[in-house]
Symmetry: C2
Subunit: 344 residues, 2 copies
C-alpha cells in the first residue's frame, strides 16, 4: 500500500507543515527534503497520498496539508522511535506527595512547568477514587448552626465544607463523633461509612439526623469519583499562529474553562503505558478538533492523575513529547520540596 517513498514524502510534508504552517507544495519538498527526486515525481506521490486520505488540499492551486491520519502516522513513528526510553510506567505520582503545597501544589507547579517548556498549555487532572483512605477528620464549629467539616486523605489531600446543622448538636457529641471516626484512619471511606452508620443509630439516637447530614456531606465528597483540573497559563496561546483566529482560540478556551469535557476525554483515554497522544477528531469533542493532547497517566490505589500538554494539531510533537518525558522524569528524580528555599 504505502511504499517506502510514499512514507518519506508524507513524513516530510508533516514535518514541513509543522515547521511553517503553510501548505506544502511539491517543489518545496523536492528542494528541501527529497533532493534526488523532481517535483513532478513527488506530485504523483502526493496525489496518491491524497487519495489514501493522508493529505488534503484546500483548493486546486494550493499545496497540501496533512490530515489527522497523517499526524497519527507521524506521531506513532516518533513514539516508536523513542519507546525504548520509556521507563516511567506511571509511578511518577508517588513522588509528588511531599510537595510543600501538597499534591495540588505539585500539580500546579507541574502544569506551569509544562506550559513554560512547551509553549503550549500544560494541564493536569487529578481524580479522587473511591478507594481513597481517610487520614484525619475534624469538625470545627463556626457558629451555633454551622460546622466546618475538615477532611484529610492519605497523601495530604484536603477537603473542607461548611455544614448547616438543623439541631444544635452538643459539643460533646461532636467531639465524640470526631474521635470515633479518627480511630478509623487508614481505612477507605466505604468501610468507614458502614461502621459509622451502626454507631450513629445505636449511640447517638436524638442527634442521628445531624450526624447523618455530616455523613451525607462526606459521602458527596468521597463516594463519587471527583476530578480536579489544573491548567497552566494560557498566555502562550496568543503567540501560536493557529490560535490567532479568535474562533479557534475560543473553542480551546471554552474547553479549558468548562473542564468537564476535557476531564471526560482524559479519563476515557488514560492508560498507564507511557505517553499517549490524541489528535484532532480522534475523540468526539468538536471544540478540540484543531487541537492535540499529549499526556501520561499514573494510578495508585486511591487516585488517578494525568499530566499533559494541549496544543494545536500542528504542534511540534517531538518537542512536546520530550518535554513531557523530561518533566515526568525530573519529578521522579527530585523527591522533595520544589518550593522556594527556606528549608532550614
Amino acid at each position: 500500500m504505502l511504499t517506502e517513498r510514499h512514507l518519506e514524502v508524507l513524513l516530510s510534508v508533516v514535518h514541513e507543515f509543522i515547521e511553517s504552517g503553510e501548505h506544502v507544495g511539491s517543489r518545496t519538498l523536492s528542494r528541501r527534503y527529497l533532493t534526488g527526486r523532481s517535483a513532478a515525481t513527488i506530485r504523483n506521490e502526493m496525489a496518491d497520498l491524497e487519495e489514501m486520505g493522508y493529505l488534503m488540499q484546500p483548493h486546486t492551486s494550493a499545496g497540501r496539508a496533512p490530515t489527522t491520519r497523517a499526524y497519527r502516522l507521524f506521531v506513532d513513528t516518533v513514539l516508536q522511535r523513542r519507546s525504548h526510553r520509556d521507563l516511567d510506567r506511571g509511578e511518577w505520582v508517588e513522588h509528588l506527595k511531599a510537595h510543600r503545597n501538597g499534591l495540588q501544589g505539585a500539580l500546579t507547579n507541574a502544569t506551569e512547568l509544562l506550559t513554560q517548556l512547551s509553549n503550549y498549555v500544560g494541564v493536569a487532572a487529578f481524580t479522587q477514587l473511591k478507594q481513597a483512605r481517610l487520614s484525619k477528620i475534624d469538625f470545627i464549629r463556626v457558629d451555633t448552626s454551622h460546622v466546618l467539616l475538615l477532611l484529610v486523605l492519605e497523601g495530604g489531600i484536603v477537603h473542607h465544607r461548611i455544614i448547616t446543622m438543623p439541631y444544635d448538636l452538643p459539643q460533646e457529641s461532636l467531639e465524640d463523633l470526631t474521635r470515633r471516626i479518627n480511630t478509623l484512619a487508614g481505612h477507605a471511606w466505604n468501610e468507614v461509612r458502614i461502621l459509622l452508620h451502626g454507631y450513629i443509630a445505636q449511640e447517638l439516637g436524638g442527634y442521628a439526623d445531624s450526624c447523618r447530614k455530616a455523613i451525607d456531606e462526606m459521602d458527596r465528597l468521597l463516594a463519587a469519583e471527583h476530578t480536579t483540573l489544573f491548567t497552566g497559563s494560557l498566555s502562550n496561546l496568543f503567540s501560536v499562529p493557529d490560535f490567532q483566529n479568535i474562533a479557534r482560540f475560543r473553542a480551546l478556551f471554552s474547553i479549558l474553562e468548562q473542564e468537564s469535557e476535557l476531564v471526560d476525554l482524559l479519563r476515557k483515554y488514560s492508560r498507564v503505558d507511557g505517553i499517549g497522544v490524541i489528535i484532532g477528531e480522534e475523540h468526539d469533542v468538536p471544540e478540540l478538533e484543531n487541537c492535540a493532547v499529549v499526556f501520561s497517566s499514573s494510578s495508585t490505589e486511591g487516585q488517578r492523575t494525568t499530566l499533559g500538554i494541549i496544543g494545536p494539531k500542528r504542534m511540534n510533537y517531538e518537542k512536546v513529547i520530550s518535554v513531557l518525558d523530561r518533566v515526568l522524569h525530573d519529578m521522579t528524580e527530585l523527591p522533595d520540596d520544589s518550593g522556594s528555599g527556606a528549608n532550614c
Copy 2:
C-alpha cells in the same frame, strides 16, 4: 463652562456610543436625542466638547466618541442619580460566611452570578488581613519527614501546607504543640505568635528548630496580607464587540490571569462607600486602558473583600451598576446556604 445643552449633547453621545459602538454623528443626535435642534447646532456644541477634551474623532469625516473624561462625567451622573438607594455600606460580607463552601465558595458563586447577569466578567478579591483570628490548628503526619499543617481562621477560611521536618519530631511533642496552640483559638495571629515563641524556647529545647519551621510557615501564611482572586467565566467576553480584537482580549486576559495587577488596583481604590468605578486610564495599568471596573468593597476586622465586574470601557454602566447593587443586596437578604438543596 459646560452649559446645560453641552451636557445634554455629551450624555447623549455617551449613551448612543455605548448602545451602538459606532462613532456618533451630529445628524444621529439631532434625530434621536435632541429632536428640537438641527444637526448644525449640535455640530457646534460637539466642536466645543471636543476642544474641552470630552469627545474625540478618529479622523475628520467620522462621528465622535467619548473620552475617558466623558465616561467619568456620565458615570458620576448615573451614580448620583441612584445614590439615595445606596444602603449597603460594606456589611454584605458578613452574610457570606455561612455558605456551604465557606467564604471561598460564596465568592465563587457571587462572581459567577455577576458574570451571568452582567454579560461581562465578575471578579472578587478576598484579602486576609493581619488581624485574622485563629480558629483551629492541626498538624497531621503524612510520612516520617512530612507534616500537613492545617489552619482554620475565624469565618471558616482554611489554609493548608505540607512542611518538611528536618528532625523526626516525636508524636507527643507534635500533639503537645497542637494542644498548646489550640488553647489560643480566638486570638489574632500576632498575639499567638509571641506566646508561642516563649513556650518553644522554654519547653521544647531540642525540637525548637522543627517547631520554628512550622511557625515560620504559619507566619508566611498569616503575617502578610494575602489576597485571593476569584474570576467568573470569561466566555461572555467573546461576544463583546470590543474584545473581538485579539489584542484587546489578550490585554484583559493577561491581567485576569496574572492577578497581581488587578489585586493591586482593587486594593488601591477600594473604599467602603458604596459602589466605585474605575474607567480606562484613570489607573496606571496599561492593559486595562480599554476596560472599566465597577466594584464594591467590604471590610471587617480580619479581612477585606471586594466584589466587582470588569468589562469594556464602553460598557452598559447603568445595567452593571444595578446588577452589582442587586447582587450585593440579595446576598444580605438570603442569610444562608445558597448551595444546591439537601437542607434536610
